[in-house]
């Protein structure tokens, strides 16, 4: 099956006070049609920058795509003009952000913003666009969708606002939805509703989803496949069930072990140290100074991402 999205050796850099910081370093990953891929990692791992690179939404004066390709349906997005990208964004690929309240325009009605998005991309009349907007608000589970068209964002709760943002993302039937921590700002009971909505949209519309999160619980709920990132690199990639049953990279194992779960008591097996600053990465494996299994060669060489039966990890320990 042809890949929907294939990122090959992407390198995204930022210029910060004269220094070049590589936020995404040789990252390769793919999303198949109809699949939910979760990218999981902590702050600074490069997961959001990867997503924004796909959308080409990084500020051009500060960010640079220093290498690699981002193939969407076979075409390299990094070679598209800004004009072509404007057509792709919102149309073939749409994005939902972490803070619904800051991603939506507070001075226009929710309905008006969805209608505007539809009219920007589709050759339809305003009346048809309004009808479609009402249908979309209903689809994402907003009660009384026709009545809510005229509501301003501040009149909606956080959960309802995120639903409206998802409705806006859906307005052109995108083939790929990128969701960057869309439930992190929401309460757990509302998060459960939004995750259920995302699963339903994936199932019913066959829409592929690239879902970015730091929460392994959310990953377990949602993912078909998982990519684990650390300090700008992919360290592990596997089918969800496989990743949770047989985590291969010491970082993934540490992350899974240190979360409090129902029934855990006493000391948690914490990962020592902290996430390295992207400007001061350690030599060799980027995890080596926090790794309980560190060997001499980990301090010198960077382990490559090696695939074994669809489960890949970047660790020398996995070699034998």
């Amino acid at each position: 099956m042809a890949r929907l999205l294939e990122i090959i050796n992407l390198k995204t850099q930022f210029l910060s006070s004269g220094k070049t910081i590589t936020a995404v370093d040789n990252v390769s990953l793919h999303v198949d049609p109809g699949e939910i891929l979760c990218v999981v990692g902590e702050s600074g791992c490069g997961k959001s920058v990867t997503a924004l690179s796909v959308m080409r939404l990084l500020p051009p004066d500060a960010a640079r795509y220093a290498g690699g390709r981002i193939l969407f349906e076979g075409e390299d997005l990094l070679r598209k003009s800004e004009r072509e990208m404007r057509h792709i964004r919102g149309n073939a690929i749409a994005m939902v952000y972490q803070e619904p309240m800051s991603a939506i325009n507070p001075v226009f009605t929710v309905g008006g913003q969805i209608v505007e998005a539809i009219l920007a991309h589709k050759p339809v009349s305003r009346r048809q666009a309004v009808e479609k907007a009402v249908r979309l608000l209903g689809l994402v589970g907003i009660p009384d969708p026709a009545g809510r068209m005229g509501a301003y964002p501040h009149e909606l709760s956080g959960g309802m606002c995120q639903r409206a943002m998802i409705a806006m993302a859906l307005c052109c039937e995108p083939r790929l939805l990128i969701a960057d921590e869309p439930t992190t700002a929401l309460d757990v009971t509302i998060q459960a509703q939004i995750l259920e909505l995302i699963r339903r949209l994936n199932r019913e519309l066959g829409m592929a989803i690239l879902f970015i999160t730091h929460d392994l619980g959310v990953v377990a709920e949602l993912a078909d496949r998982v990519v684990v990132m650390y300090a700008g690199k992919v360290v592990e990639q596997a089918k969800a069930a496989d990743l949770f049953a047989r985590p291969a990279h010491p970082y993934t194992r540490g992350l899974l072990a240190c979360i409090p779960r129902p029934g855990t008591a006493g000391r948690l097996p914490a990962i020592d140290g902290m996430v390295p600053h992207p400007g001061r990465l350690p030599q060799g494996c980027r995890f080596h100074n926090r790794c309980p299994h560190v060997m001499d060669r980990c301090r010198l060489e960077e382990p490559p991402l090696v695939d074994r039966d669809g489960h890949s990890s970047a660790c020398f320990l996995a070699e034998d």
């Binding site: 902590e42 702050s43 009660p143 709760s157 959960g159 309802m160 309460d187 757990v188 009971t189 509302i190 998060q191 459960a192 509703q193 995750l195 259920e196 730091h214 929460d215 392994l216 619980g217 959310v218 990953v219 377990a220 709920e221 993912a223 969800a240 069930a241 949770f244 049953a245 540490g254 992350l255 899974l256 240190c258 979360i259 409090p260 779960r261 129902p262 029934g263 855990t264 008591a265 006493g266 000391r267 948690l268 097996p269 914490a270 990962i271 020592d272 902290m274 996430v275 926090r290």
Partner: protein, 313 residues
């Protein structure tokens, strides 16, 4: 034995243009010496306001707070300040709660200066000892907050409260601003320090597993009231209030094979300025009857567990 802290029918009604906001509306609980009491609930449930009222950072509208044998609300300004030596707070955001213009050491010593403890020349030594206690280096005292990571900053925040040897520490979301791999370090530190010094915690957080892991007893709040109070081991395994049941079922568990029966709550949390009549949870409860919509259930205690429900599970 008298509890360290006894909160009785505590209320806080904020004034707003559209009428009063019932942020906390009649909350009662007790915390024993050395105990960890967890408060959970979703945003706007009033858990943070309760924590702040206990420290008198917010003045309650009504109710009583007894701490260490004294009526806290009857104390004058000097008395409150003296009492705060025994009750301290660790805040959510270590980026915002430390003074960026003071070194780590000066931030920690500030507590001693405010409470006029010891001689200034002794402070240096006490601060260094505190830094070691929370897992930092004595040399770190001359560095500034921006030179530390989030986890290290939270350690400084903990050292600042610990140096007063308080009997109660209110921790309001102590790890939610931190990376997952660092959260466990801070939770372990909080537990180690409690074992070493024997103080009590009120732990306020929305991460239910974090609270379950740390607490002896847990109170579940909804719209300014306690819905259920129970020992930590029981409350999530066998919730008795339908809200607790739904809350527990909504937490994503990092295990794709885990059998889960998800209870999806309908709708949103009602506004605390216009709470529904009867049981506050009745608008979203799948078991609600006419009785629930008309008569508010009281928090009733049976066999060490309290639940405010006409039809407990």
């Amino acid at each position: 034995m008298e509890p360290l802290l006894a909160v009785t029918d505590l209320k806080k009604h904020f004034k707003a243009k559209a009428g009063p906001v019932y942020a906390v509306d009649g909350v009662s609980f007790q915390v024993g010496p050395g105990e960890t009491f967890g408060l959970v609930g979703e945003s706007g449930c009033g858990k943070t306001t309760v924590g702040r009222m206990v420290l008198r950072l917010i003045e309650p509208t009504s109710g009583a707070i007894r701490f260490d044998g004294q009526d806290l609300l009857a104390l004058d300004k000097a008395g409150t300040k003296a009492m705060r030596r025994n009750m301290q707070m660790v805040f959510q955001n270590p980026y915002a709660s430390l003074n960026p213009r003071l070194s780590a050491g000066a931030n920690i010593a500030e507590s001693l200066i405010i409470h006029r403890i010891g001689q200034r020349r002794e402070h240096r030594e006490r601060v260094q000892e505190m830094l070691r206690t929370v897992g930092l280096q004595p040399e770190d005292m001359d560095r500034y907050p921006h030179e530390f990571s989030g986890g290290q900053r939270q350690r400084i925040g903990i050292a600042r409260t610990l140096i007063l040897r308080p009997k109660l520490i209110v921790c309001d979301e102590p790890v939610s601003a931190l990376d997952v791999s660092v959260q466990a370090q801070i939770l372990n530190l909080l537990q180690d320090l409690q074992q070493q010094f024997g103080f009590a915690y009120i732990l306020i957080a929305h991460g239910l597993h974090v609270v379950e892991h740390m607490s002896d007893r847990i109170g579940v709040m909804y719209l300014g009231k306690l819905m259920e109070v129970a020992p930590a081991g029981q409350i999530f395994r066998a919730p008795r209030h339908p809200y607790t049941e739904a809350l527990v079922s909504a937490i994503p568990v990092p295990d794709p094979g885990a059998a889960r029966k998800r209870i999806l709550l309908e709708g949103d949390i009602p506004s605390p300025s216009a709470p529904p009549p009867g049981c506050l949870f009745s608008t979203r409860c799948r078991y609600a009857t006419d009785l629930c919509r008309q008569v508010e259930p009281a928090l009733e205690t049976l066999e060490g567990r309290s639940v405010a429900c006409h039809f407990p599970l």
